[in-house]
Subunit: 332 residues, 2 copies
């Protein structure tokens, strides 16, 4: 048995290059006392990973140079010296971009493949689901008939934000890249409208699709789109700041929202959040979203790429916008 | 009796120039039925006036070209056809930059010169006082021992924000331009520290003066100072956006805060407000601030310039930062 791992070799400038990674093969380690060995089956690819690769202080420690790249994952316990984790059980945790991981159980949650397909624990029932749920409901505070705009709408988080907002009785407009994605948002996920930022003028389209203005803007992208939406917000609007994928690979720094004074004019707020703060309520959210899935009110979309060796290129799909739904690597 | 008025002649590009104003002399008008004539004694000069001169949509209509420049003022009723406003009474309202104004009582409040000197009704007991009070207490939500940073700290609003924060038990750091202003903030108004943005590195000074980070940043200026403070905020920080005086005269657009993702990392929020929304509570605020003034806990600072003809130049003092406290024109 051989382990395969992707280590962070260098801090990228702009988009991560092949040379920013080191691929290492080594013997699979033995778990010590109170530890268990996980065979990693699915690896989550998230825009936030780009931030973890920078040296700067953030809400979480940077990944050290030479360390296994941090990533959420789903796996199966294959050897165990831990009383509570048995061989054959499925688990999710930050196992990293590797085929085998040793764990002492910290931050690891048992999951049931009988309740939902395993990849769902990295999408709707995992971090993106929790992010969409708490970011929209707690930070966005949707009220019935609010107009909700979400960017990165075809991504793991955005696709759920829009659907949850629909469940809450809002008018939902998604912003995504490409005609096909936009069609899917409306036809498959029930969004009221979608704006293709690659071929449409976002500002003008917002005027058309949100004639009554914007009450909530769930921002995954930052940059020009944030500015365009800021110019259309209503009085008392809420802007949960979930991410800024358009800015993560800038080599000349972040572009700040030049329309931020719209917050003043409109008595509106822009508020950041980090999903980990809601950890004590994950169960409650998973239960409610599980019910919505079962009732067909919520669709979970996964975009699965095969083979751990695809990692350096698969990660870039997030930034070119090639995925629809949650991007996941199936290791085998 | 001759009226003297400043009308908006052109929409300024950058700092308002002399040619953006028209000075007009005309006979004093006669009040009609249900109206009264006010002799304007004190005119308020506010950074917000710069925004009202632009054509863009804002929280209030732009001043029309050819109209009397909008301004808060204090005056005396000299002729009255209104049953509730008697000759000799003092009033405050948006009387504009002129020596005489006709009013139908809308938005006009009676004030008592026996309770406080008239200029105070344009500072601590007027709009700047209300802005500081509600912006800090309602949007900023200070808790004892919070670290509060305020920019434009020697201005009408900033000087009150800092003092109210001290009353609430906070550590207060003011940012202002010039050694003299900074010394006054600490020595006269009781701020814990002051940073001179004209001669000091704001970023480094914040590190020194706010070793425990920043819990509330009351922003009057925007620009680089907003970015510097964003890089020092604590988890859950609140940033009331009151204004952005550093940006009002930009001819190439507003600079957005490039460090805004600090809101995400720190689960913090940036929130705009407009003082008019708190109109129903002005009395309550004036009562509390009046008591603080009487107890010597709060000092009201007015910077009074004489003569309505000084208006075009006096307004520029706000942008060069020459005033300490509330800038007011005494018309006579």
């Amino acid at each position: 048995m051989t382990n395969q791992q992707y280590l962070l070799a260098a801090r990228p400038l702009g988009l991560p290059k092949k040379s920013d990674w080191q691929f290492r093969e080594s013997p699979v380690p033995e778990p010590g006392d109170g530890e268990f060995l996980v065979k990693v089956l699915y690896i989550s690819l998230d825009p936030a990973m780009r931030g973890w690769m920078n040296a700067a202080r953030s809400y979480i420690e940077p990944v050290a140079i030479g360390a296994v790249m941090r990533a959420g994952a789903v796996g199966e316990v294959v050897t165990s010296n831990h009383p509570e984790f048995k061989v054959g059980e499925h688990v999710t945790g930050m196992f990293g971009v590797q085929r085998y991981a040793i764990s002492n159980s910290q931050g690891v949650i048992k999951i049931a493949s009988s309740l939902a397909p395993l990849p769902l624990y990295l999408s709707t029932l995992g971090m993106p689901g929790m992010t969409a749920y708490f970011g929209l409901l707690e930070i966005g505070q949707p009220k019935e008939s609010d107009t909700v705009v979400v960017s990165g709408a075809a991504g793991a988080v955005g696709s759920l934000v829009g659907q949850i907002a629909k469940i809450k009785g809002c008018r939902v407009v998604g912003i995504a890249g490409g005609e096909k994605k936009c069609a899917l948002l409306v036809d498959d996920l029930g969004f009221d409208a979608a704006i293709d930022y690659k071929s449409q003028d976002v500002q003008k389209s917002l005027q058309k699709e949100c004639p009554g203005g914007v009450d909530i803007y769930f921002d995954n992208v930052g940059g020009d789109i944030l500015d365009a939406v800021l110019s259309r917000i209503n009085r008392g609007a809420r802007i949960p700041i979930c991410g800024a994928i358009s800015q993560y690979n800038n080599t000349t720094g972040i572009n700040g929202p030049k329309n931020y004074l719209s917050l003043l004019i409109n008595r509106a707020r822009m508020e950041g959040f980090v999903v980990f703060d809601f950890a004590s309520r994950y169960k409650e959210a998973a239960k409610e979203m599980g019910a919505w899935l079962a009732q067909g009110k919520l669709k979970s979309k996964e975009h699965i790429v095969e083979g751990i060796e695809t990692f350096p290129e698969a990660l870039l799909m997030l930034f070119s916008g090639e995925n629809f739904g949650k991007l996941i690597i199936k290791t085998v």
